[in-house]
Symmetry: C5
Subunit: 355 residues, 5 copies
C-alpha cells in the first residue's frame, strides 16, 4: 500500500498530463507484440518498435497490440499521438496505481484493470495494472511487466476455438477481462487452502505466528476487494454505456463476467467473516491455554500452601509443644492430616470441575 503512495507523490506539483512512469523501474526490454486476425486470416508478430504496428490497423481485421513494460515514455507518447489518445489517459497508463475504471473518449474506451498473481513461496499477492484502449477494430493492452494471464486467449485466437475469431475487438477485451477475473478465482482458491490449514492449526496448537498470518490474509482480502469492487462497476458500465464500440451481442458475455465478479465478492466477504472468526478462535485458544496454566498453579499452590504451614508449625522451637513427644504423631498424626487435607481439596476441585 505505501508503495502506491510513494509512487504517486513523485508527481506532486506537476501539471496534469505530465508523463512520468511511477512503477518500478526495470532494465528489461519492452516487448511489443501484435496479433492481427479476422475469421479468415491471422498474423502474430513481435515488433521492435511501435511504429511497425500501424500498417496492420484496418477496418476488416481486429488488431491486438500488447505492450509489456512501460519504461519507454517516448514510445508511449508516440503511440498516443498516432491513436489520438488524450494526455490524461497516457498519464494514467504510466501512473500504475489506478483503481479499476472505465472512461469513454467517444472513439475509444479506456479501461483499467488490476491483474493479481500469487507468489506461492512468499505467500504474497502482487498486483499489476493492465490498461486497455479499445477502439472499433483494435485493442491496445499495456502491462507493467512481462508475463500475464492471457496465454489462454492467445491460444484460442490461434486455434480459432470458440467465437473469438468471429467477433470483434470488443469480444477480445471481454476475453482479457474474463482472464483477469479467472485469475482472482485462482488466488481465492489458494487463500482458501491457506485458511483451512490455519484453522486446523489454530484448534490443535495456536502460535503467535498464526496471528501474523491472519492479519496478512486480512490485508490480502482488502487488496482483492479493492481490485474487484470497482471492476464490477466497470463491467456494469461497459454493458450499460451508450457506445458503438461495444456491440449489443457482447452484453451477454459481459453479464456473465459481471456475475463472476459478484461471486468473487461474495467469497471475499465469506472469507472476511471466516478470518475474523479465526481471530476469535486464536484469542480464545490462547486464553484457554492460559486458563489451564493458571489452574495447575492454583491447584498445586492451594494444596501445598496449607500443608507447608502445618509442617512449619511443627518445625517451631517452642520448649512446650507436648505433641512433639508423642511417638505416633509423625506417622499417624502428621501424615494422616496431610492426606486428609490434600484429599479434601482434591475432592473440592473435582466437584468444581477444575480437575
Amino acid at each position: 500500500m505505501p508503495r502506491t503512495l510513494k509512487r504517486k507523490s513523485k508527481k506532486v506539483g506537476l501539471a496534469p498530463g505530465s508523463l512520468i512512469y511511477t512503477g518500478e523501474k526495470s532494465t528489461e526490454k519492452i516487448r511489443i507484440s501484435i496479433i492481427n486476425y479476422n475469421e479468415a486470416t491471422l498474423v502474430e508478430k513481435e515488433l521492435n518498435n511501435i511504429e511497425e504496428c500501424y500498417s496492420y490497423i484496418n477496418s476488416s481485421t481486429n488488431t491486438w497490440i500488447n505492450i509489456e513494460g512501460l519504461n519507454d515514455i517516448k514510445m508511449i507518447e508516440r503511440l498516443g499521438l498516432k491513436f489520438n489518445i488524450h494526455p490524461l489517459v497516457l498519464e494514467d497508463i504510466l501512473n500504475t496505481d489506478q483503481r479499476p475504471k472505465m472512461n469513454d473518449y467517444d472513439d475509444y474506451l479506456y479501461v483499467v484493470l488490476r491483474m493479481l498473481t500469487y507468489d506461492p513461496v512468499e505467500r504474497l499477492i502482487s498486483s499489476e495494472q493492465i490498461s486497455l484502449i479499445l477502439g472499433h477494430n483494435y485493442l491496445i493492452s499495456l502491462q507493467e511487466k512481462s508475463g500475464d494471464l492471457f496465454e489462454g486467449v492467445r491460444e484460442r485466437i490461434r486455434n480459432g476455438k470458440g467465437k473469438i475469431r468471429k467477433l470483434g475487438a470488443d469480444y477480445l477485451a471481454y476475453a482479457l477481462i474474463d482472464s483477469v477475473v479467472d485469475g482472482y478465482f485462482t488466488i481465492l482458491e489458494k487463500i482458501g487452502e491457506l485458511v483451512e490449514d490455519i484453522e486446523d492449526e489454530l484448534i490443535t496448537e495456536p502460535k503467535p505466528e498464526n496471528l501474523h498470518t491472519i492479519h496478512q490474509l486480512r490485508r490480502e482480502m482488502i487488496l482483492l476487494r479493492k481490485s474487484v469492487w470497482p471492476l464490477r462497476e466497470v463491467i456494469n458500465m461497459m454493458e450499460k454505456e451508450e457506445t458503438s464500440i461495444i456491440k449489443k451481442t457482447i452484453n451477454i458475455y459481459l453479464r456473465d463476467v459481471y456475475e463472476h465478479t459478484i461471486q468473487i465478492i461474495d467469497t471475499i466477504e465469506s472469507f472476511r467473516d471466516m478470518i475474523s472468526g479465526m481471530l476469535d478462535t486464536y484469542l480464545s485458544s490462547v486464553s484457554n491455554k492460559m486458563n489451564e496454566v493458571m489452574k495447575v498453579l492454583t491447584i498445586i499452590a492451594t494444596i501445598f500452601i496449607p500443608l507447608t504451614f502445618i509442617a512449619g508449625v511443627w518445625g517451631m522451637n517452642f520448649e512446650h509443644m507436648p505433641e512433639l513427644k508423642w511417638p505416633w504423631i509423625y506417622p499417624y498424626g502428621f501424615w494422616a492430616l496431610m492426606i486428609l487435607i490434600g484429599g479434601v481439596m482434591i475432592m473440592y476441585f473435582k466437584r468444581k470441575h477444575w480437575l
Copy 2:
C-alpha cells in the same frame, strides 16, 4: 467454501461456453423423468434418454422434465440444441457453484436456486444447485444428485390437489421454488434447536467445543444467507419482469413466497444476533470460571502466607528468643494469633464479597 473455488478454477483459461461439469463426479446413473399434464390428462414416466421427451411437448399440456445428475455433458448439449438454449446457460448449469439468479432469454427464463439439505448426523448443511429452464409450456429442472424436496409437488400433480393442474408451467416453477424455500424453514428449525441446546450448555458448563460449534453455526448462517438473499431478488425479478412466460395470475403466489424469503432473512439475522450473543456468553462464562479459580488461590494464599511466616519466625534458631520458653505461648499465644489473623482475613474477604 473452498470446494466451490476449486471447482471453478478447473475452468480457468477456457473459452466462455465450454462445457465442463465442475461438481462432484459420480458413477450414479442419470435419472430423467417426465410428467406431462393438464387439467384432464397426466403421464408420468422414467426415460432412458433425453430424446424420448421431445414428443410430449405441445401447447395444450405442461411438461416437466426433471434431470438428476449432470455427468453426461453430451446429453446436456443435445438438450441445449433441442430447446435452443444459449451455451452460457449450459455452462452455468454444469458449473454448479452459481449464486441464485434469473436471466431472461426471451423464449425461456433461466433460474438458478440452491437447495439446502441438513444432515442430522454430521450436523452439516449440504448445498445443491437446481437449474430451472422455464418455457411457455415446459419446465426443465436439473439437479446435481438424485433426491430432492419436490415429492410434495409431484404428489399434488398426481392427485390434482390445489391449482397445480389448472395452471401452467409458471405455477409449477413457483411450486418448486416454494418447496426449496420451505426447505430453508426446516433447516432453520433444526438450527434453532441446536442453538437452544448450546445456550443451555453455555450457562451450565461451557466447553471449548462449544466455541467450535458456534463458529460452525456462524458459517452455516453465512451459507444460508448466501442462498436466500439473492433468491429474494430473483423472486422479485420474476414478479416484476416484463415477460409473457410468467402470467400475471402467478404474481400473487410469487409475492407469497417472496414474503417467506423475507421471513427467513429476518430469522437468519435474529440467529446471527443470538449466535454472537452466545460468543459473548461463552467468553464471559470462561472468564467467570477463571475468576473463581483465581479467587480461591488468592484466599488460600493470602491467609496462609502470613501464618507460614510466623511459624517460620518461631522456627529460627536464635539462642536468645525468650518467648520460646514461655510454657503457655504455643497453645495460647501461637494458635490464638493464627486464629485471629485467619479470622480477620476471612472477615475482610466476606466484607469485600469475595466469599
Copy 3:
C-alpha cells in the same frame, strides 16, 4: 423464535392456500363480537356463529367484526367465502407468524400487525398476530387469543367521543393500529425501568445473572424491532396506497401514528446502545473486581515471601552461624529488618498507587 419456525414447518410440502392453524391449539371457545355503528346508531353484540353478522353489513353503517381464537378453520373458510377473501389471505390469517405487512386486494386491504404484551412476572414479552381485513364499510379483526388492547377504542365508540363515530371503517382500522403502537410504548417504558435497575446493580455489584438479563433484553429488543420496523412501512404504504378504501382525510392520522413508530424505533436504537454499553460496564466491572483480588494477593505475597525467606535462613541448622548467638539480634536485628523490608515495600506500593 424457534417456536415460530416449528409452526411454519408443519406446513412444509402442502399446497399454497391450504388452511392449517399453526398457532397454539387451545380449547377456549372462539369469541365473535360485532359493533355496528354510525353517527346516529350503535349495536354491540356477541355472536354464536359467524353467519349472524352478515345482516348487519350495509353501506350506511360501519361494521366491526372481532374474532378472538382461530381454532375453527371451517368458520374461517365460510367467512372467506362470504367476504370473497383470497385463499392466501386465509392461509396467512391462520399462519400466525407473519411479519407485519399490507396487501391490497382491490375491494379490501389485508393488514397484519403484531400485538405485544408484557408479562411483568415472567419478564417476558409475548407476541400475538392481529389480522385486519378492511373493506369499504366493514373491518374484520382476527386475534389468536382472547384479550386485547382495544378496550379504549370500544369505549370511544360507545361514548361517541372523538371522531370515531363520524368517520368510517378506515378510521377504525387506524384506531386499532394506534392502540397496538401505544402498547409498544407501554412495553418500552417497562423495559426502560428494567434497564435503569440493572444499570444501578452493575455499578454497585455485578453478578453473572445480570449478563443473562442483558442478553434477554437484547433479544426482546430484536423482537420489538421485528414488530415495529415493518409496521412503519405498512403505515407508510397505507398512506401512499392508491385505494378508495382509505380516504384522504385519514392520512393525517396515519402520519401521526407513523411518527409514533419512528419515535419507537429511535427509542429501541437508544436502548440497544445502552444495553451494549451495559455489557461493557458488566465486563469491566468484573475485570475491576478481579484486578482488586489480584492486587491483594500480590501485595500480601510480595511482602511476606522475602520475610519468610529470611526467617528460613535463620532457621537453618549450620553449626557456624555466629549471629545466632548475638543476644540483641532477635529483637533488634531480625524484627527491625522485617519492619524495614515491609515498610519499604508498602511505600513502594503506595507510590505505585496500588494501595
Copy 4:
C-alpha cells in the same frame, strides 16, 4: 430516555387529539409575550391572556407570540381555535417528547425543535421541546419552561440590526432555529473540553469513574444526535417545500443553517469515534496496570521461592548432613549461592525486558 416514555404512556388508550400535557407539571405562571414589528414600527409587550394578541395580527406587520409554559390546556385550545390549528398539532405541542419534524398544514407550518441546554454543575444536558407555528405574517413559539436561547434574536429585533426587521416571519423562524443550532455548538464545545480532560486523566491515571463518564458522554452523544439528525431533515424540507409561507429569499439562510447541522453531525461522529477510542484506552490502561502488578508478583515470587526452598533444605533435622558442620559454608557457601541464583534470575528477567 425512560422519562420520555413514562410521559407518553399517560396517553395510552385516549382518542387522538386528546389534549393532555405530558411534560413536567409546574406551578410557574405561564408567560405570554408578543413582539409586533415591521421595518418602521415595533411593539413589545407581556400579555396576561392569549386573547390580547389577536388585535396585533395584520398583514403589514410580523407578529411573534412567545409562550413559555404549557400548563394551561384551555388557553392552548383557545389559541388553536383562533388560529385554526389542527387538533393533532395541539396534541403534539403538549406532548413534549416529539422528535424534530415539520408538517405543512397549507396556511401554516408546524415545526418541532429540541432546544438543548447544558448544566455545568450536574454535567447534564437537558432537552426542551420548542414548537413553532409559522403563518404568513405571524410566528407562534411555544416552550415548556421559561428561559431560552432567543435573547439575541429579540435584541436584534429591538435594535433593527441585520435584516430581521426588513424580512418576514419566515426569517424570524429561521433566526430561532439558528439560535437553537448555535446552542448545540455551545454544548459540543463543553463536551469537547470534558473529552480532553478525561483523555489526559486516562493516560496518567485511569479510574473506574472514568468509565462511568465515558458512558455518560456516549449517552449524551445519542441525545444530541437524536436532536440534530431529524432537524437537518426538517431544515432541508423547509427549503424544498412548495409553500408560499417560506419565501425563496430565505432559502440561502436555511442552506446556511443546514450546513451548520451537517457540521454538528460531523463533530458528533468525531466525538463518538474519540469516545470509543477512550474506552479502548481505558481498558488497555487498566490491563497495563494489572500486568505491571503481576510482573512484580512474578519477579519477587520467582526469585524467593527457590531461595526459600534451599533455606528449608538446610533447616532439615537429618543427623547425617555433613555440610552443616563445614565452618565456611554459611557465609561463603549459602550466601554465595543465594546471590548467584538471585543474580541469574534478575539477568534473565532483564534479558526478557521484564525489568
Copy 5:
C-alpha cells in the same frame, strides 16, 4: 477538534452575516498578490491594498488574487462590496472551520477546501481553510496563513507550461484543487511510513506509547476523511453544475481529480483497516507477553512449592522421626526425591508445550 468548536461559539447569538474572524489571531501582515495572465501576457505583483487589483480585471485576461491572512475584516468587506459577494460568503470565509462545500451564486462560485500540511517534528497534521471565489475571468483565493502548496501552479503560469495559460480561471481553480489533493497524497505517504514503522515495533516489542500513536493515527484518519469525503462531492458538483463559469472542457480534468479523491478515500479506508489490525496486534502482543510471564511464575512455583513442603516436613522437631537418623537418607533419599519430583514436573510441562 475542540478548537473548531471554540471558534464557532464566539459567534453564538450574532446575526447571520456578522463578520468575525474565528481563526487564530496573528500580527503577521496580510499578503495580497496578483497574477494577471493570458496566453500572451503575464503580470505578477505584490499589492499593498486590495483596491490596486481592481484595474486588472477585464474580460481578456485571467486574474488570480491570492490573499494570505484574514485579520483585516474591513478589507474583506471592501472586497465583498467590489465583487458583489453575498454577506454569508464573507462570513464563511472568516469562519475558518467550514467543511468543504460549493455554493453557486450565479455570477460566481464559492468553493471551500481544507489544505492539510504535515509537521514531521510534531507528527501532526494541521488544517487550513482555503476559500475560492471563482468568477468568469477571475479567481480569488483566501488563506488563513502565509505558505501554501500552490508554488507549482505559479511556476507553471510563469513558464507557460501545460495548458494553464491557454485556459481560463476555471482551469486555474482546478489546478489549485489538484494541488490540495496532491498534498493529501504526500500526507498519506508519511502516515504510511509511520504505520510500517509501528507495525514492526509492535511485533518485536510492543510499548504503551504505541497505543497512543495508534489512537493519534486514527484521529488523523478522521481528520483526513472529514476533508476528503465532502471534497469529493464538491468536485462532483462542479462537474455536474449547470453553470457557464465552468466550461465543459474542464470536466475531463475535474473527473481526473475526482478519481484521485476516490483513490485517497480508498487508501484511508485501507489504513483504517490496518490501524484497527494494529490495535489487535498490540493487544495480543501485550497479552502474549503477560502469558509468558505467568507461565514462568507457574512453572517455578509449581516445581518448588512441593519441594519446599518436603523440606519443611523433615525440618519438623518431632522426637520420633526414625528416618532422620538413617545415614543415607539425605544424599540418596532426599535429593533423589527432589530430582524425581522436579523431573516429573518438567516432563509434564514439556508434554503440555509450556516449556
